[in-house]
Symmetry: D2
Subunit: 297 residues, 4 copies
Amino acid sequence: MEIGFIGLGQMGKAIATNLIRAGHRLHVWNRSPAPAQELAALGATVSAEPAEAARGQALMTMLADDDAHRAVLIGAGVYDRAPRGLIHVNLATVSVALARELTALAAQRGLAYVAAPVFGRPEVAQSGKLNVVVAGDPAAIDRIEPLLAAIGERTWPLGSSPERANVVKLAGNFMIACALEAMGEAAALVRAHGIEAGEMLEVMSGTLFASPVYKVYGRLIAEQRYQPAGFTMVLGLKDVRIALEAGQAAHVPLPFANVVRDHFLEALAARRSDYDWAALAEVSARHAGLPSAMNRE
Amino acid sequence: MEIGFIGLGQMGKAIATNLIRAGHRLHVWNRSPAPAQELAALGATVSAEPAEAARGQALMTMLADDDAHRAVLIGAGVYDRAPRGLIHVNLATVSVALARELTALAAQRGLAYVAAPVFGRPEVAQSGKLNVVVAGDPAAIDRIEPLLAAIGERTWPLGSSPERANVVKLAGNFMIACALEAMGEAAALVRAHGIEAGEMLEVMSGTLFASPVYKVYGRLIAEQRYQPAGFTMVLGLKDVRIALEAGQAAHVPLPFANVVRDHFLEALAARRSDYDWAALAEVSARHAGLPSAMNRE
Amino acid sequence: MEIGFIGLGQMGKAIATNLIRAGHRLHVWNRSPAPAQELAALGATVSAEPAEAARGQALMTMLADDDAHRAVLIGAGVYDRAPRGLIHVNLATVSVALARELTALAAQRGLAYVAAPVFGRPEVAQSGKLNVVVAGDPAAIDRIEPLLAAIGERTWPLGSSPERANVVKLAGNFMIACALEAMGEAAALVRAHGIEAGEMLEVMSGTLFASPVYKVYGRLIAEQRYQPAGFTMVLGLKDVRIALEAGQAAHVPLPFANVVRDHFLEALAARRSDYDWAALAEVSARHAGLPSAMNRE
Amino acid sequence: MEIGFIGLGQMGKAIATNLIRAGHRLHVWNRSPAPAQELAALGATVSAEPAEAARGQALMTMLADDDAHRAVLIGAGVYDRAPRGLIHVNLATVSVALARELTALAAQRGLAYVAAPVFGRPEVAQSGKLNVVVAGDPAAIDRIEPLLAAIGERTWPLGSSPERANVVKLAGNFMIACALEAMGEAAALVRAHGIEAGEMLEVMSGTLFASPVYKVYGRLIAEQRYQPAGFTMVLGLKDVRIALEAGQAAHVPLPFANVVRDHFLEALAARRSDYDWAALAEVSARHAGLPSAMNRE
């Protein structure tokens, strides 16, 4: 297929690369030019501005936050100049409010809006093993099936209303953040009793919690290894914040999200915004008076 | 081996049965006589009082809480009358304070104290697939190895100080409770947006969270099925409470444990003490104004 | 002085009435016409649209939330059509972000922006006993001094940057919400032990806590009397939410605000949005299984 | 009256001094002898052991925590050797469980147990202006009225069941701790926006919160002055902990108490156990990355 692709951060670049390898022809655009040049070397066409990438059968985007979506899709005229019938496949984790807004705007412009947020860290994206939760017009989803197949190991259909995929994605990221916080508090508890975090986390991730989230992040926490980040504290805070907003809109208290949000804020106040979000665990260590990556200069 | 076994609740009876099947000779005692009679039918000898079961090479106990341990082991004279050299293998989840107290008391009486708390619900105990975290005198642990092999699929050694196994067990149960709460809040969030809890939980427990805790409890939460309980709200509250006490003793704040404790208390105030602890999820549903098992009469 | 006044809810009407009584000439506008007519009977001139009220030396506004400010001041052209040199005196509790935005916008239009949020419930506004925290251009504040003197018993100057008054107002409302929650939890604790909330609250508000917040709200809580509302749950949620946003912008965790926000959300989910915010106390009662105004049909 | 007095810490010594000045004859005992000698200089008789002070018409005690009560009243034989008919007036903040236990024990020994916990810091005790909440046998309370009059400015009767006074005292101390935490969070919020804590706290404690708790502690927080302590972090933690236990026993969640408890634990982990409990505010400052007394070496 011929498609556009906007947003070539760690995740976007890995996904676009897999699309090219699967034989799709990509028109790419990125705010900073270097990643676009890398993809050009693999065969992609570099667009001079965002709206130029809105061509072919679909436009995939992987942008950082709600503001970036508004700036590029609306501000830079992508939606205004996109050809009618184009399917916008949004891979990013956005707020439920933005999902609704873009769904309506796309419909007005004669575009189809498909929400397809992905689960997986950059290394999972590189190996094409993402899990994709997808919702939107069934016909549009059918047509982009080859694209989703190229980037993920499994697609989870969630109905025809795009925001449903976003709500599930938010719930999922919230659950990951909770797992990080739970491991962090448990690690502080055992460390304060003279047991290494790894001794405990190995038992858990080898038995009742034997799953990617606990294995991958349990190791990072046990080794206190937070750089380079696969997913930063800043992005973690963003996702918890929009989960809280989705909760607020529907009158759903999320007390665990509050705790996590506070710990992200404390980490940012301690200038750790670029650490991997697994560093949530270090906030619990700091509170308990244990050596913590939050205290290093 | 010839051993004693005290405490034949759901877990204890399942474990004792596996020990008998593995060829060990058991002297059993239980507060209410019926379960002891069941084991007698399998070949166990029923002791007339607790202290009578303290014979052979080891005494295994699976009692409900700290008070029950004090009543039976100290109050009913088990420790006073146990033969010197007997190994007391404590399978239960007890407080760190009690673990220390019993370790010291056992040493005074010439007994060995091995902490061997187990992870697994009753059905796991029945199938002999428990995970056992064990700590205590290495020679004693060596000698009881055939017993642990008969009840669990894997033993996790945690050193020679018994309380280390208890701290890890508390950390583990705390992490399970956190997973329940996180699933419950996430379920409330998606339900309030028109998505069934099961739709979301199936994605999670099929991918990033593909592990026993999320699969088993995710299903109970999706189906709102909390009776009969594998592990009750009352026991869940007990374990979170002693995790908080262990935290307090070492100056470790555990904010997630606070949230979970509050939700257990609310469930008890709503007379749901005998529900499975997965029903934590229903407290979040209630707070969000969703149909909840906490509201039924 | 000749001034405009926009926003005649419970608070705005009481304040405008005092201004008229003090001899000022008012041009008033309100979304629904009835309150404007009441003031006309006292001598005010009713403006046909918001921008018409922007005349004389100052424009006072008392609008409900950030959205209403944007709709009226920007959307309805008040700022565009206001005469240069007019002093906009904003009496409402707005977000720090909006305070900054309006300060900049006013400066561009040649207007002065003074933040003058007020502390006090409607009955306090009626008696002209509000406490006003004020910040902005000192010369402008000097000129509006007669207006502030007419509505409050005391003005608290907080410097020349308007947002400073807003931050202090948010901190103050947050502290009131915390006092409500603390009284609510304490009331649940004593009630569950067979003591009436009033017996305890009377001791507190008669001694260590002998101040308006505890006396006024302590009585409402003791009597479980939440209607008619002096300040609704919805407005309380709004203020806690913008306090949390102000905290987030500056990386300040506010765990008490989280608890309060969750309880407001639960009250809204239970359809109690129009109760006085003192009804926060009923959420704690509900959680403890006590008779609660949150459970009534 | 001739009475005994046990426990001469900061509070106990101040109270005993006022009793002597009011003309009562005191037999005093204290674990460390120095304070007893000071009172001897004022005319008190020093008892050689605790039980010797249990004479005359009443025994007043002001001990630090539940353990100290058990050690002195039971362990050191005070209750065993006290003359029948003696009224034990317990001025301390104890757990509800201990209040019940002592009430029962006193009845068995033919003693009367009156709970009379006091509100007020050491300087208030010195000036005889404590507020006393009192519960117990009405006849006994009548007889000790002259004693209560000598130490406090007002007595608040709470019925004939002693534990009622303890529950109210716990609720009160919990409310003070909440006020400290609320001021601390509000202070962090304004400081992070460039406003001094004192600027904001002066407004609050001069208006809506014009009461002793906010005035006294607001000043300590504004000046970050936490030594010497009027009431230490350790004692604050103790009181919040027993409030949580009282809540747990009656199934009452107290989420504010959880936050406060966590912040006390963090302060203890940071070795600030001997700071005044107003230093709770410094934990919020630390979390926000502001200069904090928790970080000093």
